[in-house]
Symmetry: C2
Subunit: 217 residues, 2 copies
DNA sequence: ATTTATTTTTAGACAAAGCTAAAAATTTGT
DNA sequence: ACAAATTTTTAGCTTTGTCTAAAAATAAAT
């Protein structure tokens, strides 16, 4: 499995997260910042290897083989992110690009030993679940802040957008994993949300609220 | 700098270790398990980039730029090896291939934080010195066991061959970094060396003795 | 000092992965 | 339902790094 093939498989895996249908060529091209024609070429190769199911113009789905392979890459990515934050003192907005490289290191033994060294973490620094060694992913129950109702309370358990810009913005707002939030009001005009956080009231834009996951309590 | 270019630069760096003259095309091909013609091609590219000095048929030398680049790769390799042994409990014969992949991870910040996390180690698990962040390497004074004189004593501080086969053989002999060795006798017939180790007398072949470094005391 | 052997380089091909531009299929809009 | 717009695929080219086989240069040997 080449570096590039791994990147494609992972991209398809991540795009399949909430989607039932086949993933479109363009969606993959977008996600990977490449051209649709390149995607078509690669998909054919992956189909030949039995990693994806593909019929022309019908989009692509992961085959079981491809799904577990992808989950293992994601496992590596998230374990390395956890390592970077917990052991090397990186911040949550700095780790993605480095983990993007580390996720391709091949040794199974390495990743199992790393997992043990980290004491078997369940989620990465952005709250995303770490697949187990067989590629199974625990379902985390969480709702978007944007869909929580007035009066509800919750703990921040994840983010949808984990770009460094967004994460640094959350730092500025003092929003972090584990923080408790109460929804005081929702403004119908622009869908902004008034919340209470650390005994302060702050207003959160709809866009921001749509990228924060809560576990309601 | 591509993966492949990094591999070549590192190979040339390691081959230049004890050699003054230019490194031959064949030597590089041997070291990297590739063909001489491929080496010639790559050397030209590296020369174009100012990383090596090259005149046809004259072998190749690292330019200063190439030397420090290579030293940084070696730094990364050896720091990762140290991490694998000290933190993840790998044995010294298992770490080379994994470090071979890890050494290509790009982030400077990563390697400085790793260095701090490991508490600034000076040598890797095989006794090889870890270059500093600017690519300087401390000269370790050490002699081959094969060249030590009868009656001398020393501490094992390194190995020349760090193949897993050799390292596992040393494990079997109970020879490890830090062990004290006394040279009891040298056999002129086959250049084998009789040593005392842990109050036992054992005989070491010339080949083995030629791959163990001592610091005499 | 030539011939022989070895080493190194060149020339030409190939596979991987990407791109552009054009063609084909599908979807959308009226 | 059919023309227009969009998406996807194909065809052909490029770059990177590799290889084989042949040619050129250097080193070794008698």
């Amino acid at each position: 499995m080449t570096l590039s093939e791994e990147d494609y498989i992972k991209a398809i895996f991540l795009l399949s997260k909430d989607v039932e249908k086949g993933i479109s060529t363009n969606a993959i091209a977008m996600q990977m910042d490449t051209k649709a024609s390149s995607v078509t070429d690669m998909i054919k190769k992956l189909a030949d290897k039995g990693l994806v199911h593909y019929k022309k113009y019908q989009g692509v789905r992961l085959a079981e083989k491809g799904r577990t392979y992808a989950a293992k890459i994601v496992r590596k990515h998230r374990l390395w992110e956890f390592f970077l934050v917990e052991k090397l003192n990186f911040t949550w907005d700095e780790v993605h690009d480095i983990a993007e490289e580390l996720e391709h290191i091949k040794s199974e033994q390495l990743i199992e030993k790393l997992d043990a060294f980290l004491d078997f973490p369940r989620v990465d620094p952005h709250g995303d679940p770490i697949p187990d060694k067989d590629g199974n992913i625990a379902k985390v129950d969480k709702v978007l802040l944007s869909s929580a109702k007035k009066g509800e309370r919750g703990i921040v358990v994840g983010v949808k957008d984990s770009s460094s810009e967004f994460l640094r913005y959350l730092d500025k707002l003092k929003i972090a994993l584990g923080k408790e939030i109460t929804i005081l009001n929702k403004e119908p005009f622009d869908n902004s949300v008034l919340i209470e956080l650390d005994s302060h009231k702050i207003s959160i834009s709809a866009l921001t609220a749509n990228n924060i996951y809560l576990k309601t309590i």
